[in-house]
Symmetry: C2
Subunit: 172 residues, 2 copies
């Protein structure tokens, strides 16, 4: 299973202000949605899932694909898409998708979910959109756990005049 | 007074592991030293200064320029270079340099010192070298204070095949 992590962050590695809000624009979102829709399956945490449930169906990251939601609580899928729930962390999410014949997935957040994949050594590539803001005291893109990863820069590009996308391979 | 901040960080906005160590290579250091030596004056915090005192004189960031060390403790300059001590924060450092006829300075760390300049709205440009590592649970490039800054991307370049330099104007 090839595992991508897709993250947008401020210059100082925060995915949002302390209250969860961001300044990311709809323009930046285009690259994110197009990436999600190229990949067979999406994995997200419960909080991210609950945020998506508040949005119109047209914002759903992969309408034609499969989604796995990581949740330690027992919850039920409730929207119009193909959603599975994994109660036992990233390895179970991968198993569910393998059993469905999927060969790739993209982890779209939040920070606990990205961290759980990284800590278990399950990520293969990371795509980071660096946004032109500093959120001092914001929410870090990885939660506080201690781990370390070496990366190999594969590609960088401009998403707009202000947003730089850095794409790395995770060295194992 | 034009104020630059020069920072090297991991992809997730950490300037070092929790123990203060990094993986930054001597190769990356070349751009940093050349930048410091183009600017009239350097400002650093006391911890950074004490780290420099352990190194040979050839590593000093600006041998021909002026340095101001921010320190809340009373300390005395002890090496072979032109060093002043500011006990009352970034504004005093700027005053000292203005009185010497300087028109620009570069803040080289650590994170408390960068944060104090940013919180007081004293930074004009920020240069960030993004290194190909993730330090989960590392030391953030800004200490925990809550502040927010909008940036304008001026330039980006490769320092090596692996290190990307992003250069921003701080929007006030």
């Amino acid at each position: 299973m090839k595992v991508y992590l897709y993250i947008a962050s401020s210059l100082n590695g925060c995915i949002a202000r302390k209250d969860g809000s961001t300044n990311w624009s709809a323009e930046d979102n285009t690259s994110y949605l197009s990436f999600c829709r190229q990949i067979e399956a999406v994995v997200m945490g419960r909080n991210t899932y609950e945020e998506y449930l508040k949005l119109p169906d047209s914002d759903w990251p992969n309408p034609k694909g499969t989604t796995v939601v990581l949740s330690s609580k027992k919850i039920l899928p409730v929207n119009n898409f193909q959603v599975h729930i994994a109660n036992n962390g990233p390895k179970e999410a991968i198993e569910i998708l393998q059993n469905l014949g999927k060969k790739e997935l993209i982890v779209i957040g939040g920070n606990k979910t990205w961290t759980s994949f990284m800590k278990e050594g399950l990520g293969d590539e990371i795509i980071l959109d660096v946004e032109p803001y500093i959120f001092g005291g914001g929410i870090s893109l990885f939660s506080g756990s201690v781990f370390e990863t070496n990366l190999e820069l594969l590609e960088r590009k401009f998403l707009s005049s202000q947003t730089v996308q850095l794409h790395y391979r995770i060295i194992k």
